[in-house]
Subunit: 214 residues, 2 copies
DNA sequence: GAACCCATCGTTGTATACAATGGACACACC
DNA sequence: GGTGTGTCCATTGTATACAACGATGGGTTC
């Protein structure tokens, strides 16, 4: 019950920069000199440096030593690579979810799925993405595998970056959202293999059961 | 052909601290005050901070904000979690390896496997671990999936920490090393499913084909 | 006119100084 | 005696100052 209002400046800058990158306000390739950021945020270069370095660990920023830092870009190939790993991790989560983990997170899952639908209804795309992201994070957390959770959180930034770049149309998006509910049903019924296949479809937006067992 | 001798102090400190942690010189739970490290390395606190923060991103150091940083410990449960994720990632790599990736890395793989055996022969345990690690990294790299590679490198630090803590006996260790060659044969023959099963056995040191298809 | 070299400037990398918070100890109070 | 509280100190968080390297642009030479 501590007052966590006093986050460090470094944290605040990190959060805001991340938002700016993921919202597209800071576009891929843009240089981000420490001094100008410091001016913009009204702090010294020290917390800026820490934030930028943390972002580089998450792959959102590329640092060229002794030269400059810039917002990372994603190539087509990288996007595919990320999706492939993402599917694998989420499938591992599904495999790992047991009764207790399911019960502990089912409320969260359904809430995020619902909020997602709601945001879709009012046309709030940013919120859709946010809730969608939370849904998948909750799925991972239900695995209760700390290493899995921590690794997925690493990928998460790039996944979000991708989600934006993908720019799905209304139809595709609503199809995706419907799959959230389907996933939960399959989970509830213990139909893990079908759930894993659905996740593949969910991420790749096409119905291939690559990776599913025969 | 650039002179990369001039690594930043922050990098040097990072490397040395990582070594000290992974060699067990810095034991889990030990506090690592910035100032004493700065004194020890003969640099200011700035590069120390950057190094420690980077280590915390890799899970080797735990930072308690505004209080202190300490070397992370691994619980039994975490060890299992890490192993589970590790197996999944390496299996994904095997699935992803194509002809070109195999050819590009087969030389590396056999070299590391051989160096591993050699180090085992002369009883150089540290070197065995190092080469073993390089072997598995090469396996991952053969997938040519950048996201997979980057994620695995994140886990790698913890995997190395585990390898030390595990403290396998001579018999178990030499059994493991023999499996490297076996893996390469299976890869060469394109027997991916058997290779994936072997990887599970390799990591968990017991012959269970959990995760293998039926 | 093009290529190379050199100097300057801007930016990053590091050191140091200062501010602010958390922890430990001692003391008082219950 | 145990618990709560207040002060002090050690350590972190941030700002600023300085050093060192890389990039850019102009001048010289072929």
């Amino acid at each position: 019950m501590k007052k966590c209002i006093h986050n460090s400046l470094s944290d605040q800058v990190y959060t805001m920069l991340k938002e700016q990158i993921l919202s597209g306000q800071l576009k891929g390739g843009m240089k981000i000199p420490e001094e100008s950021l410091a001016e913009q945020f009204g702090v010294s270069r020290t917390p800026i440096r820490e934030a930028v370095r943390r972002l580089s660990e998450y792959g959102l920023v590329t640092i060229k030593p002794r030269s400059y830092a810039s917002v990372s870009t994603i190539t087509e190939k990288e996007a595919e690579d990320i999706a492939r790993v993402r599917v694998t991790l989420e499938q591992l989560a599904v495999d790992s979810i047991d009764e207790a983990g399911y019960l502990a997170h089912v409320k969260e899952l359904s809430r995020f799925a619902a909020d997602c639908q709601y945001a879709m209804g009012i046309g709030d795309r940013a919120s859709v993405f946010e809730q969608d992201n939370l849904f998948h994070l909750a799925l991972i957390k239900a695995s209760r595998n700390s290493a899995l959770i921590s690794l997925y959180e690493r990928l998460d930034a790039k996944i979000q970056q991708l989600r934006i770049a993908q720019n799905l149309n209304e139809h595709e998006l609503s199809l995706c959202l419907a799959q959230h509910g389907e996933m939960m049903n399959l989970l509830k019924g213990g139909e893990k293999e079908r759930c894993k296949a659905l996740i593949h479809e969910h991420v790749f937006h096409r119905s291939i059961d690559l990776g599913a067992p025969r």
